[in-house]
């Protein structure tokens, strides 16, 4: 892999949505991969609000290029563009998120945590991703609480990496009032949500099945959960209310 620090003419900056030439070493740098521009915009904003540096790319191939894992030797990385986490959509034309995951885990970057996002709640898919070494699996549409929880879990000081992977998927519908919103966020419009007839728990498909899956996995992993005790209690309490 050519890494002589010389900027290759063939790498055009406009191929990447966002380029960060200088990086504060304290900030978490996330590489977001999604073929949908709408989703790229949303995930970029979600990550920025949680104080991450974000680079978005539209395909697995471009992600590998950015990491410097592409087979073509002409692509080089800037020094200092260390990626701390990769978050990728599952369904993408060309290289799927799963294939990207396998490539990363089979490379010199296997330590980089990879998070998979998918709009389909397919247990087999989740299982195979976790088996392949995915750090986490998020159901789309991704919410701010998902990203906050992910970041807190992955990059907080008291995180222990010795245990096996813990499922932190969004299990239950959370109303917007549950979020400890940052003061800079503009307040939601004052609507009385209780008047809506669509009182189904969540707009995401298969929340109940994800609930079931999480029950079995987190029961075995409860001791190794690094999250704070009151959030765990809240989750258990909410789960019992829902069932």
């Amino acid at each position: 892999m050519a890494r002589n620090g010389v900027f290759s003419r063939r790498w055009r900056a406009e191929e990447f949505d966002y380029l960060c030439p200088s990086l504060d070493s304290d900030e978490v740098h996330v590489l977001a991969v999604d073929d949908s521009l709408v989703d790229r915009k949303v995930i970029e904003r979600l990550l920025k609000i949680t104080s991450c540096k974000v680079t978005t790319v539209d395909s697995g191939r471009r992600a590998l290029q950015f990491l410097g894992l592409d087979e073509q030797e002409s692509f080089v990385r800037f020094d200092g563009l260390k990626v701390d986490m990769v978050i990728t959509d599952y369904c993408m034309p060309g290289m799927t998120g799963y294939e990207l995951l396998k490539k990363i885990k089979g490379s010199s970057f296997r330590e980089i945590p990879v998070v998979i996002m998918s709009s389909e709640n397919v247990l087999a898919r989740i299982d195979s991703c976790l088996e392949e070494g995915a750090e986490n699996f998020l159901l789309k549409p991704v919410k701010l609480s998902d990203v906050k929880r992910l970041k807190d879990y992955m990059f907080s000081e008291d995180r222990s990496r010795t245990e096996s992977k813990v499922m932190n998927k969004r299990k239950l519908p959370e109303t917007s009032s549950d979020d400890p919103s940052k003061p800079t966020l503009s307040p939601s419009p004052s609507i009385d949500m209780s008047s809506t007839p669509s009182s189904e728990p969540s707009s995401s498909p298969g929340t109940f099945s994800s609930l079931l899956y999480t029950d079995s996995s987190s029961n075995s992993n409860v001791s190794s959960m690094p999250s704070s005790p009151d959030s765990l209690t809240r989750r258990l309490k909410m789960r019992s209310q829902d069932l």
């Binding site: 949303v42 789309k140 917007s176 800079t184 966020l185 609507i191 008047s195 007839p197 669509s198």
Partner: protein
């Protein structure tokens, strides 16, 4: 109420017309105005905007993901929602054109691929009804059901148009609200025309 969304533009023109409807003729003409009158108009405007939003939730046109997008909007990214939604509109119209084309040639497999995309982006912005029609459409395409696909496509186009019109209305409310805020701060700062003793109130 402006009802022809097709002619909406991003210019302040419509916002100023709206201002007139809410009783801001002087503000629209950029002269001073008693603050108590400005205050009343803003409240009514916001009530109308919230009523429209509540209606769209009630109808199931939007779901909580749309609120999530609004939460992501702040001073550092004040147009986030409209930017994302406009990208969604562009992508959706391309998808709709492709779907119609593919249906002509009964390419159900490619239709499924497009529908997956449409489902994904619709759920990302909280367009619940559009998303649900796409899901039904996908079922019909998996069954190679031509008539079902035709019906679903018509319904999808109808739902999409409705969503687009309503979201444009919402954005116009926001633009009017902002113009009123700007105008009120303008009249606070430079108000040579104000003869009466002004009771300066900061507008929410």
């Amino acid at each position: 109420m402006l009802n022809n969304a097709a002619h909406y533009s991003k210019s302040g023109q419509h916002a100023r017309r709206r201002l007139t409807q809410y009783g801001y003729p002087q503000v629209a003409a950029k002269t001073g105005l008693p603050l108590w009158m400005l205050g009343l108009g803003v409240e009514r405007l916001r009530a109308d905007m919230n009523r429209l939003l509540a209606l769209l939730f009630h109808q199931g046109v939007l779901d909580e993901q749309y609120l999530q997008l609004q939460q992501l909007q702040d001073e550092s990214s004040p147009n986030f929602v409209s930017e994302v939604v406009n990208i969604y509109f562009q992508e959706s119209e391309k998808l709709l054109r492709n779907l119609r084309f593919l249906l002509e040639f009964s390419d159900y497999k490619k239709m499924g691929v497009h529908l997956n995309q449409f489902i994904g982006s619709s759920s990302s912005i909280g367009a619940k009804r559009v998303r649900n029609v796409c899901v039904a459409f996908r079922v019909a395409s998996e069954q190679n059901n031509r008539l079902g696909c035709l019906r679903a496509l018509e319904l999808l186009e109808h739902e999409y148009c409705y969503l687009k019109n309503k979201l444009h209305e919402l954005f116009q409310f926001r633009a009017t609200d902002r113009a009123a805020k700007t105008a009120s701060s303008y009249s606070q700062v430079s108000s040579p025309a104000l003869k009466q003793k002004p009771k300066w109130r900061k507008l929410g």
